[in-house]
Symmetry: C2
């Protein structure tokens, strides 16, 4: 049956489709059934809701994303059919039962994720299967290829494109803007796209968003990179690796991040933006996402999969046992970044890590001799060239005119005894940041005065909490007292 | 912040909540976020969508189920807050990682399923965890108790209440209406609630719905049972074991049905309706849900868990290697049932199985001496008392005035060679029924002329397919030829 498409002005992470109950009944369709909507050779799937009054007979109300995916407009006639079970469900079952999936099977799953044939529950079963049973190297390669090839890709006329990525989980670990600024100042092309926070208090996109626009079309991104050699953008709106965005949305509910999916997700995005030189940072240790042993295994897998796609790839293992920098939370992190770039009392751990990573990229791209990268990176930073490049990127992306101010409510936390800082727990600090309102409340966050091995006197400030919500601040204090993210040992 | 509740006339399996984008922005809420809606001491959770135009500022559009759960009406002011992570997520993670859950943890999960704090993706992770890692007997007991105690229960002033259940998967296996009619004729009280089809072409509720109303409030159900001693109702609208309805909705996408969940689901529903005497039918064999070994293990678990709740429980293993009866599909199955009850050329396999099950219940409830139940059941059937009771139940539930007619399109399938029927595959027959339109198309289905070990001549009819849709009929023929649900061996 054909129904007239009628745009419904509802924004949702999934496509919305609503049908008149009478029309639904005549088609033997019930609220919650999945339908296929076909227009001009394209087809999408969606769960359908019904209404007695909001949508006319022989109409299908559909949200903007649905019209875009179909290439249809308000008023067009589309073919509606009750959808059969997605073709790839048996393959998801196969993975849950512990079997190895073929390339075709993996492509079928990823294609049906992209065209919305699989709903989030079915995607969750796939994620569980991969989490429980793992994937072979061959499966991981195929997963990477499927995620990469079912989305759009950027190309750069044969130029050498570089990229960096940290697997995340470390509070305040905002090296990317500094590394990109140093490397771009040296002439390396870095079309850097970042995600918003998944498990931490802020992602690079959340942080950059404080002072600049981060949300671009692929065309705009190309213009920015052509002009200034780099960008610091949000990857979400570019249509690169769309399967990955959906996988991440489902994974983040439980912070599930199986190895093979982590690798496929990262490398597929690097391949999508056209990168050839890739630097991966794996922070490890207590409180990080992975232990040293897991980090070494992950490194090996990154290298193997990357090699299969012809990438020049380096993986560095870094200390992930405590937060990096002093600020945690979007505004507080951008302040730290600017301190490093402007050479004004920079947090030394953030500076050193950024310089180290930038140095490796400079060597990989032939911008520094082997062994001289770090020195070269520090020189670029000290010369002011990196800060200049950062300013150029902000200008090209559309700088926001704002004063950088942390949340209006603040509360100092002081040491309850004299001693030495034994431990600053990344997971608890990230959770504390989230309770304070990060990343939506840009000014929310934590300023750390102390790092591991620092001495502290009784009554000395160890951190200040910030939030723009009084309720969040009260909850954060409760959280702090309950979980104690900082451990002080007797001296 | 308080928002005015505004009923939105959209029917969906999940509660719909829509907020004006501006209001959402002022609350730092994004489309897809989960919110808590509080009214008069009650609270529900829902994922929220946003709109620029359909909902006013400081309003929350909410679907009927939402208003009912809150006990609120159109125009009431409700408190809105961004929801924190559900408390039970760490327990779901714990199960995925293979650990045993405590009673408190299982109750927390089930409570958050019921109050909608967990969304379907999170429920899917729980189901995967249980599927992958299993549950101990103690966990299964706690799961049963949690599902049972988080819903409403029926009580019957100390009367002896009986129930039967088949774990399903066998096409045409519609013994329930016959067993209930025989036993109720003998004075046994049987407030039987059934589900709609999950994996088969029709469930008891789908079949009964052809000739009677099946959808009752708890109060109406009580009246019916008080009047005629039994009912044959749909369990879905009674508010019994609501967690189970949500679990089933998530499980059915992949037909995942882990043992412990199967047992908890069935026994929780029996406890909810107030049953004390429970008969479980486990069909086993090739094409059934379980093998003989699995059936034996399941039997043991049913008995152990049932005992913990003080149930008098019997479990029978029956032959599940081929469909039961001749008709498969709602109308065709109700015709078979009436043939048995009216003693007019009844399908003998359906009759024998029903009499056997009814006999066991008669013995359990002291309505027949030990070893005499089957004889007694057959006598009740032959005397016409069972048919009379069936008519009383129809009358009490609200009989529909219809002529029982299979689908208007039909197609005979004939044997392509002479031989003996080696195999009639339940799963394929059920799938064939679904392709024909079962259970939504009540007249769709299959009439089987042959069972295993029957002789057949080349060109002899082995089945007739029915549907009210020409397209479904064409697809069914394609399906039949591709998968061949009936295997004929050379004689």
């Amino acid at each position: 049956m054909k129904l007239k498409l009628k745009r419904v002005h509802i924004e949702s992470p999934e496509i919305i489709a609503i049908m008149n109950s009478k029309t639904a009944k005549s088609l033997d369709i019930h609220a919650g059934d999945r339908i296929a909507v076909g227009y001009n050779g394209k087809s999408i799937s969606s769960d359908v809701d019904t209404t007695d009054s909001l949508v006319g007979l022989r109409e299908l109300a559909i949200s903007r994303e649905g019209l875009i995916s179909l290439g249809a407009k308000n008023g067009d006639l589309a073919k509606i059919a009750l959808n059969h079970r997605p073709r790839s469900l048996p393959y998801i079952m196969k993975k849950l039962d512990g079997h190895i999936l073929s390339k075709d099977e993996i492509f079928a799953i990823i294609r049906e994720i992209v065209d919305n044939s699989l709903n989030e529950v079915e995607i969750a079963y796939f994620v569980s299967g991969v989490y429980e049973k793992g994937m072979t190297l061959e499966e991981t390669v195929n997963l990477t290829e499927a995620i990469y090839k079912t989305g759009r890709t950027l190309s750069w006329n044969g130029k050498k494109i570089a990229d960096k990525h940290s697997i995340g989980g470390i509070a305040g670990n905002r090296t990317t803007p500094i590394v990109v600024s140093i490397c771009a100042a040296a002439g390396i092309i870095l079309p850097k796209t970042s995600s918003r926070s998944i498990s931490s208090a802020a992602g690079t996109a959340d942080t950059m968003e404080v002072i600049t626009k981060v949300d671009f079309s692929a065309g705009d991104l190309r213009k920015i990179v052509s002009k200034v050699g780099a960008c610091l953008a949000w990857g979400g709106s570019l249509g690169l690796a769309p399967a990955d965005d959906k996988l991440i949305r489902v994974e983040r509910l439980l912070n599930l991040d199986p190895d093979s999916q982590l690798i496929a997700s990262i490398l597929a995005k690097k391949l999508s933006v056209g990168s050839k030189y890739v630097l991966i940072d794996i922070p490890y240790g207590e409180g990080a996402k992975v232990s040293k042993i897991e980090a070494l295994s992950l490194k090996k897998k990154f290298l193997s999969v990357g090699k299969r796609f012809g990438l020049k790839i380096k993986v560095v293992l870094t200390n992930g046992e405590e937060p990096i920098g002093n600020g945690i939370g979007p505004v507080l992190e951008i302040i730290d970044i600017i301190k490093v770039l402007k050479r004004q009392s920079p947090p030394i751990d953030l500076e050193n890590k950024s310089v180290k990573l930038a140095g490796i990229l400079l060597e990989m791209l032939g911008k520094a001799e082997k062994g001289k990268g770090e020195k070269e990176a520090r020189q670029i930073l000290n010369s002011g060239a990196a800060y200049k490049k950062f300013e150029e990127i902000l200008q090209a992306q559309g700088r926001k005119k704002i004063t950088l101010e942390p949340g209006k409510f603040s509360k100092d936390i002081v040491a309850d005894r004299r001693g030495v800082i034994k431990r600053v727990d990344n997971k608890l600090i990230n959770s504390l940041g989230k309770v304070l309102g990060c990343p939506a409340d840009k000014g929310a966050g934590i300023y750390l005065y102390k790092h591991c091995k620092d001495k502290v006197n009784k009554g000395e400030k160890i951190m200040t909490l910030y939030s723009n919500s009084k309720i969040n601040m009260d909850e954060a204090l409760f959280f702090y007292n309950k979980f104690r993210p900082i451990l002080i040992n007797n001296n």
